[in-house]
Every structure is written in C-alpha cells, then in structure tokens.
C-alpha cells in the first residue's frame, strides 16, 4: 500500500518511451544506435525461434510417419470417414458437456466463494463453521475426482431417498461442483488474504460492519486479484466435464466411446479430444489476456 502513492508515468514519459511524439527532440546518435541494436536483436531471436520450430516439426513428422506402426495407427486413429460419421453424435454429446460446464461453473463460483468466506471468519463463535469449511476443502481437494464421481453417481441413488435424482447428468454435475468448489474456495481465500489488512482497517474505521467490509471492500478486490487463477481453473473444468461419461451420461466422450465400440476405430476419441481443445482455446486466451492486464496494472513502466 505504501507504493500506492507512486505516480504513473505521465503522458510525456510514455511518449518518450515509445518515441516519435510531437514536440520531442530528434533522437540522438546514441539512441538511434541503441534502437538499431534492439531491432537487430529482436529480428535475430524471431529467426532463431522460427527455424528451430520448423526443424522440430519436420523431425517429429518424419519420426512419426516413418515409424513401422504408422500406417496402422493412421487408419485406426486418423480415419477421416470414421471421424465424419461419428462427428454429429459427438457434437450432440459436447452440448451436454457445455451445459454441465456452464451450470456447474456457476455453482462452483457461488459455493467456492461461500466456503472461502466461511474460512476467513474470525472469532470463537464461528469455529464450527470454519472447521466445517476446512474439513470440506480437505476432503474434496484430496479425493480424486473420479472417486467422487463414483460415490456420488452410484452411491447417492443407491440410498433410494425420496427426491434424489438419478440422472447421471445431475449427479455428475454435482460431483464436479463438489470437487471444484474446494479448489476454487482456496483460490478465493488466497484472494481475500491478498487484500491488505489496512483496507479492512479503513473500512471498519468508517463504521462499516464486518459483513459490509467483506462485501463492499474486500471481496471486489479479492476477486479482481484472483481472476487469472480462476480462469485457469475454468479451463481445467472444461475438460473435466468429460468425466461425467463414467456415470453413463451420453456426453462427447461417451458418444465417442459408443462409436469406438461399434467400429473398433479410435478416431472418434481423437475427434472428441480436438473438440475439447477447441472449446478450451478461447477461454485459455481470455485467461492469458486477463493475466497480462493484471501484470501491466501492477508494474506499469517496468521493462522486465
């Protein structure tokens, strides 16, 4: 917080860094030399990167295509006709994954935030709640997702309780929400703890209650601080929604599996895999963008 007083470089300084601002004296010989050197260096590293990437790609291509098993692998994993046939049903399955992702993602944010707030409550009165939240996080962060899926997906309906749904879609979403909320709660907690105590002191000194302070002052800053980490978890969630297939929900993975069982050709898996990648790419780019913006905000003016 002590650094808050530091002023951002003004427009004059920014202009001198980018060069060519009106009213700026013409660059000196020294500066021109430095710019030429930097441009040379930058061209050279781009060249090196391009060539090495190309060489690696060619070598990888040759090694794979010249391997003794390649023709067989090509027909079982990369068959265009099988892929085309399987595509529509896989795409329909992916729609289910997308629903799990969106509904589950929303639930994860709410539940995770709630648990994180519970974990940061102070005072002996809240000890049971705090303990409960800590126990929850320990349990579901430690339990492999696949086991949670089995326990929730097969265990809950086996109780035969009134009102417990037995749709693999609902149960699968529930299991994923349970696990991911534990992770996301920890991310939120880190965010809450990253807000300097002086912010809380300032809010309380204005007469805001603990609850108001948390809601109006701490959480907005906490969420902003951890948005890149949250988006990363969202990308992870995007592929883990494919795991609901183990409960029998006909999602993209399951649809591919059914096709594989019929044709003994693995191409549908590759198709499903690529579709998941395509789904993940936009959010990965958004995550990168948000992280870069956060970095710029924190260290404007630095060259490192």
């Amino acid at each position: 917080m002590a650094l808050r007083g530091r002023r951002r470089p003004g427009p004059e300084l920014t202009a001198s860094l980018t060069g060519g601002a009106p009213g700026l004296p013409a660059p000196s010989e020294l500066e021109l030399g430095r710019r030429a050197y930097r441009a040379r260096r930058s061209r050279r590293s781009t060249g090196v990167a391009l060539v090495s990437t190309l060489v690696f790609a060619v070598v990888a291509y040759l090694v794979v295509t010249r391997s003794p098993g390649w023709p067989r692998v090509q027909t079982t994993f990369f068959s265009l006709s099988v892929g085309r046939d399987a595509f529509p049903s896989i795409l329909r399955g992916l729609w289910l994954n997308l629903q799990v992702l969106l509904i589950g993602g929303a639930c994860v944010v709410v539940l995770g935030l709630g648990i994180a707030v519970l974990r940061t409550l102070r005072g002996p009165a809240f000890a049971p709640l705090r303990l409960l939240a800590t126990g929850y996080v320990d349990l579901f962060r430690g339990m492999p997702l696949i086991i949670t899926l089995y326990l929730v997906g097969f265990g809950l309906p086996a109780l035969r309780l009134q009102g417990v749904p037995n749709s693999p879609f609902v149960l699968g979403t529930l299991a994923i929400v349970l696990t991911y909320s534990a992770y996301v709660a920890e991310v939120f907690r880190a965010g809450i703890e990253s807000v300097h105590p002086s912010q809380r002191a300032a809010a309380r000194s204005l007469g805001l209650t603990h609850r108001q302070t948390t809601r109006i002052v701490v959480l907005p800053q906490a969420v902003r601080n951890v948005t890149p980490a949250l988006l990363n978890d969202f990308v992870a969630l995007q592929k883990d929604v494919g795991l609901i297939s183990v409960l029998g929900a006909v999602d993209a993975v399951r649809a591919a599996q059914i096709y594989v069982g019929q044709t003994f050709n693995f191409t549908p898996y590759v198709v499903a895999g690529l579709l998941f990648v395509l789904l993940a790419v936009p959010s990965a780019r958004i995550a990168d963008g948000v992280a870069a913006r956060a970095r710029r905000r924190q260290q404007s003016g630095s060259v490192l």
Binding site: M1, A2, R4, G5, R6, R7, R8, S198, Q199, A201, A202, A203, R204, S205, L206, G207, L208, T209, Q212, I216, V217, P220, Q221, R224
Partner: protein
C-alpha cells in the same frame, strides 16, 4: 468543558512488546492535539486504540463520556462517530473518488445517495478535487489521495478526527497541500488528534502537544512550551535530533 475524548491509563502490548504503559490524554471539543515522539513510542497504537482498531489491554477510552472500551459497547456504532486518516491513505482502489467518499454516509449512516453525493462534491470542491470525483485513486498523486482520505473521514461528520502520520508517506512538496486542508478543518472547529513528525505544523496548529516516549505521555502542554522549552531531558534530546535533521 467536558472532554470529547478521554484516554485513561491505557495499556497495550503486542506479545512481549508493551507499546503503551498507561497513557492519559484528554481532548476537549474544538481542540487540536498533536502527538509527537520517536518511532515506536506508541503514537499510532494510541490512535488505533482510540478508534477501536485495537483492543486495549487495560485502562479506558471515553468518547463523550461513554466508555468505548467496554466490550458490551457496539464497536461499529462507536467507529461511526470517529474519523480516521491513515499514513498510507488506504483509499479503496476499486471505487472511484466519489464512491470512496459517499460509501460510509450511504451505507452506514443511511443517507440518500443524492444527498451524500452533493455533500461529497462540496467537500471535494473545497480541497480542489471536484474534477477528480470520477477518477480512481491510483490515478491521483499521493497528496491528492490523502486529501481525499481526509474528506472521506469528514463526510461522516465525526466527533473527533484522528490523523495517523498522514504526511509521512508523501514527497515534501506534497506535504503542504495536505497540511493546508488539515489547517482549514481545524479552523472550522473540528476536534483533532494527530500523530505527526511535522513539528513546524504542530507548532502552528496544535493547542496541545504531547510527547510520547516508551509508551507514556512524558510531557504535554502548549506547543511553545513543549517544543520551545521542554522540561524533560528526553524531550529535549528528541527535539534536538529533529532540529539536527532540519525538520523544525
């Protein structure tokens, strides 16, 4: 005249470190009290105890005669009657300048947004920052941020304004603009307790100067006496060091 703020024998320790060893301090209405003393002498801790940001380990703090250190007292209700300004400004970075100022009046004091906004703009205008109302704090200089922080504290019409070394984080050239605001607020009759290293300012504005040393008020009185002709050898030693550093 009864004291607005009355500190009686306050003790505060952080683990083994006893910061306040029985501090007495009485502040009357419209009075400006400057707390001076070296780092670690307990100035900030005293202010934090008075604003209930710390719990005292012994003694009492009375606000308008009410014992606010009583655990049965609603601490939030007490803090509503106080204004605190911190060394590091502590503006809320995710809120605009205006929202920083109207937050407590609307959320704590239940005033209408339009009403709070009008007053906030008037106050911001008085410190020359009305045009910055829509800006976010990190677009402001340190001096501007601190002036906004003062306005934020004033917007709740506090009984006492507690200023905790509010110029210590500022460039020398920005100190003046902040002190000018404090001087104006004092002139309007606000009761102020300020921890400060600005001896010249304390001399001009304060009615009483208290020298804290090792957790007690060693000496207090009118500024000419405490700063000009101190009785205690420790006070003299402290002031001579400040004079050597060119700060008085």
């Amino acid at each position: 005249m009864s004291a607005v703020l009355d500190v009686r024998g306050v003790v505060k320790a952080f683990g083994d470190n006893v910061v306040l060893r029985g501090v007495d301090l009485s502040v009357d209405e419209h009075q400006v009290v400057a707390l001076i003393g070296g780092s670690g002498s307990g100035k900030s801790t005293l202010l934090r105890c008075a604003s209930l940001l710390e719990t005292v380990d012994d003694g009492q703090v009375l606000l308008d005669g009410e014992d606010i250190t009583d655990p049965r007292v609603d601490a939030d209700a007490v803090r509503r009657r106080l204004g605190v300004v911190f060394q590091a400004y502590n503006l809320f970075p995710h809120l605009s300048v205006l929202d920083n100022v109207v937050l407590a009046p609307t959320r704590v004091h239940g005033r209408s947004r339009a009403d709070a906004r009008d007053e906030a703009l008037t106050l911001l205008g008085r410190i020359g920052l009305a045009d910055k109302a829509g800006e976010y704090p990190d677009r402001l200089s340190g001096g501007q941020q601190q002036r906004v922080a003062i306005v934020r504290a004033l917007a709740v019409h506090p009984r006492v304004l507690l200023l905790d070394e509010i110029t210590s984080a500022l460039d020398p050239e920005l100190v003046g603009e902040v002190l000018r605001v404090v001087r104006e607020v004092a002139a309007q009759g606000m009761t102020i307790v300020m921890a400060t290293h600005e001896m010249g300012f304390a001399k001009q504005v304060a009615d009483t100067v208290c020298f804290l040393d090792a957790g007690v008020v060693l000496e207090s009185g009118p500024p000419e006496q405490v700063l000009g002709d101190p009785v205690e050898p420790r006070t003299r030693q402290f002031l001579s060091r400040i004079i050597d550093a060119g700060r008085l």
